[in-house]
């Protein structure tokens, strides 16, 4: 019973971190119509940012988190400048390729600067496992869920209730009309990239404690984010979060029950099945059939 609870908690924690990645992915998708393949590598960069900051500054994980996130937001602006704006008028495949390229650059720059050994970031919750009767639950897992929930909620509030959020949504839904209303569309797009990177950075900092981070960690993450978004429905923020939670739970439970490899294999198989049978996912746009 305890293990199931702990397992579920771990699964949710993993899913919560994935949700941050997937959310950033969808933000950029909605704002630009383009797939940001570098999102996974941005998570990796966030993990490194947290690890490097930790070795330089003797601060607890919770204090380092905003700094890592801030640094990542700046990196997000760089991504927009290098991989998106020069290719704005080209077909979406071009941005797909440019973000693959940028991801590659990020990976290898990290490798060159910091070497291939895995790094960790300090935990958010450094204390003993929480005890509740005979249960001992990992504080870190709870902390991850808490932080992720806070971030998702903040982002939701930002989009729904603030002027900036309204402008972001307008830009995402009809760029030309948004411009005709006086919205500075390019600034909104850049901001979307910055937000996506910030969320990725937070996810990276959170994940880097339990799972070591290496320069190539980003690859698997982008696939998970992509899968989460397909399950939830392409373009749906709600769907991305839900899809990510499902992916995290599934992965954790199956890995514990069978093996990590089986979990991965089944996940991909499930992905292919979804694409075949219900490509619009839970909340998404109608299929996307070709012309």
């Amino acid at each position: 019973m305890v293990t199931i609870l702990q397992l579920g908690l771990n699964g949710l924690a993993l899913g919560a971190a994935y949700a941050l990645v997937a959310l950033g992915f969808v933000l950029v998708l909605n704002a630009t119509g383009a797939v940001n393949f570098a999102q996974g590598d941005l998570v990796m960069a966030g993990g490194y940012a947290a690890a490097i900051l930790a070795s330089a500054l003797p601060l607890p994980g919770l204090a380092l988190l905003p700094m890592a996130v801030g640094a990542m937001a700046l990196l997000g602006l760089a991504v927009a400048a290098l991989a998106y704006f020069p290719l704005m008028r080209r077909p979406p495949t071009a941005v797909f390729v440019s973000t693959i390229a940028l991801g590659l650059v990020l990976q290898n720059a990290t490798l060159a600067l910091f070497g291939p050994e895995p790094r960790t970031a300090p935990p958010i919750w450094a204390g003993e496992p929480l005890r509740w009767g005979s249960l001992a639950l990992s504080g870190q897992a709870l902390a991850i869920i808490a932080v992720a929930t806070l971030l998702v909620a903040t982002q939701g509030w930002l989009l729904a209730c603030t002027r900036l959020g309204r402008n972001l949504r307008a830009t995402a839904q009809d760029r030309e009309m948004a411009a005709a209303l006086g919205i500075r569309v390019n600034a909104m797009i850049a901001l979307s990239f910055a937000l996506a990177a910030a969320l990725a950075g937070a996810a990276g900092a959170l994940l880097a404690n339990q799972f070591f981070v290496t320069p190539s960690s980003g690859g698997a993450l982008i696939l998970k984010a992509y899968i989460a978004v397909v399950i939830g429905g392409w373009g749906s923020l709600r769907g991305a979060v839900l899809g990510a939670l499902l992916v995290g739970l599934f992965e954790t439970v199956v890995a514990a029950a069978v093996s990590y490899t089986a979990a991965s294999a089944l996940l991909y198989a499930a992905l292919l099945a979804i694409l075949l049978l219900r490509p619009q996912g839970l909340f998404g746009e109608a299929a996307g059939r070709r012309a």
């Binding site: 290719l87 979406p92 390229a101 590659l104 490899t261 996307g288």
Partner: protein, 595 residues
């Protein structure tokens, strides 16, 4: 029987061929004289990469789809050869064939569902496939050696003799590369290449030409898989080992980088990209770990600044000095077949959400009749044109051309069945010449398009000249013969409408639907357009003209049909219709006002 002189066109791809020739000659010289055994080995491996990239060009460059499974197909080919070679001691011919067929089979299995997906899903599906392949290989340790891989893969054995390493092996591999390149050339130059160009740039234009988009994409995907399998097999023979690294994403990215940097639609591009990215790490040894970083940066720079890659940039520079055209013998052309048929539309309904765009519309066009469709803005005219063209499906009602039902056919099928649609803004692929466009349209009715057809020479050589001759005749019929070789993008509106008309006629239609054909034309052009429309009708083809321009339409049309808010409010002879009070009210907002 008419005779026509095929146009003397400079052969496309001259720059490409010249560049290839130069590179091959250089490599051969290097191999024969300067290369060390290690150098020859690198050269051989580069050859495998060339083959891989040639394959990728089919799906990524020509069909324009981002497939992320190319690395997986490569790996499957490599493992097939390794397993068959080390375990069962098959000889080269047999194991090579399996290495090509296995990826082909996998691609065929995955293609049908995957190609129906929109592009972002397709990339993901292929990525998922690649990951499954990797996991499979890592976990079938008994067969594949797991993470360690397989060693002791035999060399290429032909008739009992193993091809020695060094120059003979390099020559063997490169001979196969040459075969692949020639095949690729044959398949992608000519009208099939043009068909892919149209498909990439404008799906609607492709449908309007009647091109079978699904088949074109399917064959591209299969070819990419087959080439990748072959490349994998050759690499396995060359290295003697196979590891799971071949299935990792980094290999896929390298392949992508080679394709983009070299040039995604040119044979020389495959050569350049593969050679560059294989040799650069060798030359820049001192930069050791930075090679992938350099790839990434180069890939980014190329996709931004030189989307056609290095080969493309070179070819543009060379183009000015292309070989002058050679004159051709006149050809005898068969008479054009006509398929007169009456259009019958009854009770057509189309809803968009809560709005009824078309409400039980009835319409008929007899062969040889010119029917004008008019109505205020928002009346549903464009919706009707889209329904007739097959770009949208109706909710209720009957649509028939002759005895053939048209519902559910899809735009390209309808184009092949006999309804040609002319668009308000002509859908002309920018870089194609008018001649190529119309010849391409001819292939829909007069021949087949696609890789198999190219292979059989259906669109090359004699057949192609024939198609071009027919195209020229069509262009002459609209007064565009002199401008046949100009790229479509350079045609001003006063000429573009002629090309649009020729394209529509090239499909041997039974009915032509023209959407505001007179828009933007001066008085003289309009008079000529009207004349051409009358000529078309005189040939027994029905014409439906959607227009706002009354001075143009009224003298030309035999009958008018008036739509308002999705309903037909009047039909009949033009002079009667314009005096119908309901029509006046619809247009002017109230009954006619005058002092």
């Amino acid at each position: 029987m008419t005779t026509a002189e095929p146009p003397a066109a400079p052969r496309r791809g001259f720059g490409d061929a010249a560049l290839c020739g130069l590179l091959i000659a250089g490599l051969a010289l290097y191999a024969a004289t300067l290369a060390s055994p290690y150098g020859l080995r690198v050269l051989t491996l580069a050859g495998c990469q060339v083959l891989l990239v040639l394959g990728y060009q089919f799906i990524f460059g020509h069909a324009g789809l981002l497939s992320l499974a190319q690395g997986a197909f490569f790996g499957l080919g490599a493992y097939a050869t390794a397993i068959l070679g080390t375990r069962y001691h098959w000889d080269f011919a047999a194991s090579f064939s399996v290495s090509v067929l296995v990826p082909l089979a996998v691609a065929a299995a995955v293609a049908v569902p995957a190609l129906r997906l929109a592009s972002h899903y397709f990339a993901l599906a292929t990525l998922g496939l690649a990951q499954v392949a990797l996991l499979l290989v890592l976990n079938a340790g008994e067969w594949t050696g797991g993470a360690i891989g397989l060693t002791g893969v035999p060399g290429i054995a032909v008739l009992g003799e193993t091809v020695p390493r060094g120059l003979p092996l390099a020559a063997t591999v490169w001979s196969l590369v040459a075969v692949g390149a020639c095949l690729s050339w044959r398949l992608t130059h000519g009208l099939t290449g043009a068909a892919y160009a149209v498909l990439r740039s404008d799906a609607i234009a492709a449908a309007a030409l009647g091109l079978r988009a699904g088949w074109l994409r399917f064959s591209a995907f299969l070819l990419s898989a087959g080439y990748a399998g072959a490349a994998g097999a050759l690499q396995a023979h060359t290295l003697g080992v196979v590891s799971s690294e071949t299935l990792e994403f980094s290999l896929m990215v390298t392949c992508l980088a080679m394709t983009v940097i070299g040039g995604s639609t040119r044979i020389a591009g495959a050569l350049l990209g593969a050679l560059l990215l294989t040799y650069l790490p060798e030359w820049l040894r001192f930069l050791e770990g930075y090679a992938p970083l350099a790839y990434g940066a180069a890939l980014l720079a190329t996709i931004i600044a030189a989307p056609e890659g290095i080969a493309g940039a070179i070819e543009h520079a060379v183009r000015r000095r292309a070989r002058p055209p050679t004159p051709q013998r006149p050809l005898a052309l068969a008479p054009r077949r006509s398929r007169p048929a009456a259009l019958e539309v009854r009770g057509l309904v189309k809803r968009f959400g809560g709005i009824v765009a078309l409400d039980r519309v009835d319409l008929a066009v007899e062969p040889g009749e010119i029917v004008g469709l008019i109505g205020p803005n928002g009346s549903g005219k464009t919706t009707l044109a889209n329904l007739l063209g097959g770009f949208v499906e109706p909710d209720e009602g009957v649509m028939r051309l002759g005895s053939r039902g048209l519902r559910g056919l899809g735009a390209d099928r309808i184009a092949r069945e006999g309804i040609s649609r002319g668009f308000q803004t002509p859908v002309l692929p920018p870089r194609l010449s008018g001649l190529e466009l119309v010849a391409l349209a001819r292939t829909t009715t007069a021949g087949r398009i696609g890789f198999l057809a190219s292979l059989r020479g259906a669109d090359a050589g004699y057949r192609r000249r024939h198609l071009e001759a027919e195209a020229l005749e069509l262009l002459g019929g609209v007064g565009l013969a002199g401008e046949a070789l100009r790229p479509c993008a350079s045609l001003p509106p006063s000429l573009a409408w002629r090309l649009e008309l020729a394209r529509a006629l090239a499909l041997d239609p039974g009915l032509v639907v023209l959407d505001e054909p007179a828009a933007g034309l001066g008085a003289r052009e309009q008079a000529e357009l009207a004349q051409r429309i009358r000529e078309i009708a005189a040939r027994g083809i029905g014409v439906l003209v959607i227009e706002h321009n009354m001075p143009f339409l009224l003298p030309t049309a035999h009958r008018l049909v008036v739509l308002d808010r999705g309903r037909v409010i009047s039909k009949g002879k033009p002079k009667d219709v314009v005096q119908d009070p309901r029509v006046i009210a619809a247009y002017l907002g109230r009954e006619r006002f005058s002092a």
